[in-house]
């Protein structure tokens, strides 16, 4: 927001786009909150049929959870590299983050296919419906995140390189990515471990 000249803005000192992203993330809490609540309500119910505990594979999901967790590290390292004005390193870490995200997604697709083979389908019963909609909605977020990261990486290939200002800036995407990660921290515990 370099324009507007003498026009004052940002009395709070927080960059406007970043503020907008935080507001967005705050409402995302309610999105996931609703999904998790639904999942929890039905998790406690006694209804006949196949359950998640009959089909899941904890070691597998643990590994993919760990991968997503580590993508937060690579993301913050990319951010750090950009603050140090190291374009080369920034791009490397960005790509690493996108790759880790893609691996997580691949894992999720594999997991869903396995579950389907075991007869745990979207409309099998309330346990499967809540599971797929909840984790699928998160998967969609990861997918959008990967697209954003790759777009950012593409922008970084241009002459001007990446900045921390302007439209699609790195900090903006980084906030989103970390949020997707913390949601999974909660989901992993709520869906798989408890």
């Amino acid at each position: 927001m370099s324009s507007s000249h003498s026009y004052p803005h940002e009395p709070t000192g927080v960059e406007t786009r970043k503020l907008g992203m935080w507001v967005f993330l705050s409402t995302e809490i309610l999105f996931f909150g609703t999904l998790i609540t639904t999942f929890m309500i039905f998790k406690g119910r006694d209804f006949p049929g196949i359950k998640l505990t009959d089909v899941y594979d904890i070691p597998f999901t643990s590994i993919s959870s760990f991968i997503l967790l580590m993508s937060s590290l690579t993301m913050v390292l990319a951010h750090n590299a950009l603050e140090a004005k190291d374009q080369e390193k920034t791009r490397v870490w960005l790509l690493a983050t996108a790759m880790l995200g893609a691996v997580f997604l691949a894992g999720q697709i594999y997991e869903f296919t396995e579950f389907y083979h075991k007869g745990f389908e979207l409309s099998t019963n309330i346990f499967s419906s809540t599971f797929y909609v909840l984790t699928g909605f998160h998967g969609l977020h990861v997918f959008i995140g990967v697209v954003l990261l790759l777009a950012l990486w593409g922008i970084g290939q241009r002459q001007k390189g990446l900045t921390l200002e302007g439209g699609m800036n790195l900090e903006f995407v980084a906030l989103y990515w970390h949020f997707v990660d913390i949601v999974w921290i909660v989901l992993f515990t709520v869906v798989y471990l408890i």
Binding site: S3, S4, H5, S6, Y7, P8, H9, E10, P11, T12, V14, T16, L19, G20, V23, F24, S26, T27, E28, L30, F31, G33, T34, L35, T38, I41, F42, R45, F47, G49, L122, S123, N125, I126, F127, S129, T130, V133, F137, A151, G166, G167, M168
Partner: protein
């Protein structure tokens, strides 16, 4: 002199839109004022349609055992009436006020994200069109054991499960066909529009305030916009997920709300009203804001208890999240929950009462000018008090159980949303008419409009109180002759047509005044807030230079001093100051950079209805078309800078 930077026509990839007048300039605009005006007209159009649906309902109910409509058509009409009025009329008309006024009231040049603003408008338009396309493409079959298929007809092929979409009634079994899918996905799209504008307004208020515009110096309307945006941001996600579930239940065979597969229909009610009750305050708080602007201006006194009004507004917004289950007293929730929500419902009357008394305190002892905006604001207070009081009666659980699903409820929420929200909105429409068009409306016609509407309104909704207590059931297309309900029902129908006449008077006034009205003076109402320190109609650049605010009601204090008795005395310099302000406002002395128009908001928004149809008809090609729109729009948006690079020599200075 004016120097608006000519946009560089060769943008990165696509050509920039460049027209400044004509239809393309409106389609590609990112100017908050133009978007506000478009919101206003679109919302008014839907208000007329919703009103037409209401008249159709009233014709059916004017006689006992009437057969003007079949049951199926009646279901569709009341569903569409509620949905239209809430999501397509009152909410967007409030958005029109937010858009037009918010930047002006905080002294900003535009909202924080101008293109997102255009995006939410276009999503709203496409969402509304999508919802109404159900009349063309939608089907509503006959449920097992319900009415006959031949009774459905053309009118009946619209969503028919009520605006509340209770499950399992709105599920596939009892509402077959695609009409309820249109409803679920249409609301989803409209929700996205509101959500985006909520982010935008919150960010704008926090970050775009001008010099000296501290939070506690913001006009009350801005505060209420802030509160509404919070409510939207935190309540819409809940209904979005719930509507996802409905769509999944209907299209992909899940059973979130159906007991057959272990689901829970009451959960829908929780999720719906977790959104639905804050929604009530989303509809009414903008009117609170408007009235809080109009009353001090026409009573020529400062708002009584500014801080109390602001905090009461947030109190209402906050407690508004904790009362949802009073809509569910008849839905088998536990006694503890009933008691708790009964209590919280009583509690929320307190901040509302605080506001009412503050408004009364504002007009008390003021030099009141009874112009049309003031009349509507006074009408608002009266009607809203009635609606508020009948609202408190719902907190008494046993009484509420008796009133549930009767016309008593219908009377209550129309007193709140028509007598409250819509009266406030009309007050605002008249009040800011000179600001938007630079012309004065016709005062006589305005007053005729007010009195006709007040009379028509009370004739329509007043008798519904006793009709309800006598046991007339809502959402039912006939009543038997033996019930002796026909007398008041005829009165109600007559009232509804009087309202229709008053709306016609309003439209005539609007169209003629806009074209041939007297030129508005610079400060027609001797107003208090800074949107009146600039010329009318508002120049494209709003403020020619950033205003600096020194106090609450800054404009008033620059015109008036206090004598020793605390009375306002007009400064001698005031008239000259107004002339100077007009001169300065029309001739900015510094360079002004405005965001450039863009094609991409409308392109992006156009993708959503395709995705909606794709889900309804499970069609991959349609999904691809939708995705293509999103892709092109998103890509173009991402690569197009908001404002074109300004040449170096202009950048300095």
């Amino acid at each position: 002199m004016t120097k608006i930077i000519e946009p560089n026509k060769q943008s990165n990839i696509f050509k920039r839109p460049s027209s400044e007048t004509g239809i393309w300039s409106w389609i590609t605009t990112v100017d908050h004022k133009r978007i506000g005006i478009m919101y206003g007209y679109a919302a008014f159009f839907f208000l007329l349609i919703g009103g037409l649906e209401a008249l159709i309902l009233r014709i059916q109910l004017s006689q006992p055992d009437n057969n003007f409509l079949t049951a199926a058509e009646y279901n569709a009409m009341f569903t569409m009436h509620g949905t239209t009025m809430i999501f397509l009329a009152i909410m967007p008309i409030s958005a029109a006020f937010f858009n037009y006024l918010l930047p002006l009231q905080i002294g900003a040049r535009d909202v924080a994200f101008p293109r997102l603003n255009a995006l939410s408008f276009w999503i709203f338009i496409f969402g509304g069109a999508f919802l109404y396309s159900t009349f063309i493409f939608g089907t509503a079959g006959a449920p097992d054991g319900g009415y006959l298929a031949e009774e459905v007809g053309w009118l009946g092929s619209a969503p028919n499960g009520g605006w509340f979409g209770y499950q399992p009634n709105a599920g596939l079994k009892y509402s077959p066909g695609t009409a309820m899918d249109y409803w679920a996905i249409g609301l989803q799209i409209l929700g996205i529009a509101s959500l985006i504008s909520a982010f935008n307004f919150i960010t704008t208020i926090i970050n775009m305030r001008t010099k000296g515009m501290r939070f506690m110096r913001m006009p009350v309307f801005t505060w209420m916009t802030f509160a509404v945006s919070f409510l939207l941001a935190f309540s819409l996600p809940i209904i979005a997920i719930a509507l996802f579930y409905v769509t999944f239940d209907r299209k992909f065979g899940t059973t979130f709300f159906l007991t057959e597969g272990g689901g829970d229909p009451v959960l829908w009610q929780h999720l719906f009203w977790l959104f639905g009750h804050p929604e009530v305050y989303i509809l009414i708080l903008p009117a609170f804001g408007i009235v809080s602007e109009v009353l001090p201006t026409f009573a020529r006194k400062p708002l009584f208890g500014y801080a109390a009004i602001v905090f009461a507004g947030f109190g209402i917004a906050f407690i508004g999240f904790g009362v949802w289950a009073h809509h569910m007293f008849a839905s088998a929730i536990s006694p503890v929950a009933q008691a708790g929500f009964g209590l919280s419902t009583m509690v929320i009357a307190v901040p509302t009462g605080v506001k009412i008394f503050n408004w009364l305190g504002t007009i008390w002892g003021g030099k009141i000018k009874l112009n049309t905006p003031m009349l509507f604001s006074l009408g608002f207070i009266g009607m809203f008090v009635i609606g508020g009081l009948s609202g408190v009666t719902h907190s008494v659980v046993p009484a509420d159980t008796q009133q549930t699903d009767t016309y008593y409820i219908v009377a209550h929420f129309h007193y709140v949303l028509f007598g409250g929200a819509l009266f406030g909105i009309f007050s605002g429409l008249y009040y800011w008419f000179p600001k938007v068009w630079g012309k004065m409306y016709n005062e006589t016609l305005g007053k005729i409009h007010f009195w006709l509407m007040l009379i028509g309104f009370n004739l329509t909704f007043g008798p519904m109180h006793w009709l309800g207590l006598q046991g007339q059931v809502r959402r039912t297309w006939v009543y038997a002759e033996e019930t002796n309900l026909q007398f008041w029902n005829i009165i109600v129908t007559i009232g509804a047509f009087i309202i229709a006449v008053s709306i016609i008077v309003f439209m005539i006034n609007w169209i003629f005044s806009k074209r041939n009205g007297e030129k508005a003076p610079f400060d027609p109402w001797d107003a208090r807030t800074i949107e009146w320190t600039i010329p009318s109609p508002t120049p494209v650049w709003n403020f020619s230079k950033a205003p600096e605010v020194k106090s609450l009601d800054d404009f008033w204090h620059s015109k008036y001093d206090e004598d020793e008795d605390g009375r306002a005395v007009r400064k001698e310099s005031a008239d000259q100051m107004l002339i100077d302000l007009e001169e300065e406002g029309l001739n900015p002395s510094e360079n002004i950079v405005l965001p450039n128009p863009s094609y991409f908001p409308i392109l992006l928004a156009a993708g959503l209805p395709f995705l909606g149809y794709a889900v309804i008809y499970k069609s991959i090609p349609l999904a691809l078309i939708g995705a293509l729109f999103l892709l092109i729009g998103g890509f173009g948006w991402g690569t197009e800078p908001l404002e074109e690079e300004v040449e170096e020599n202009l950048e300095h200075e």
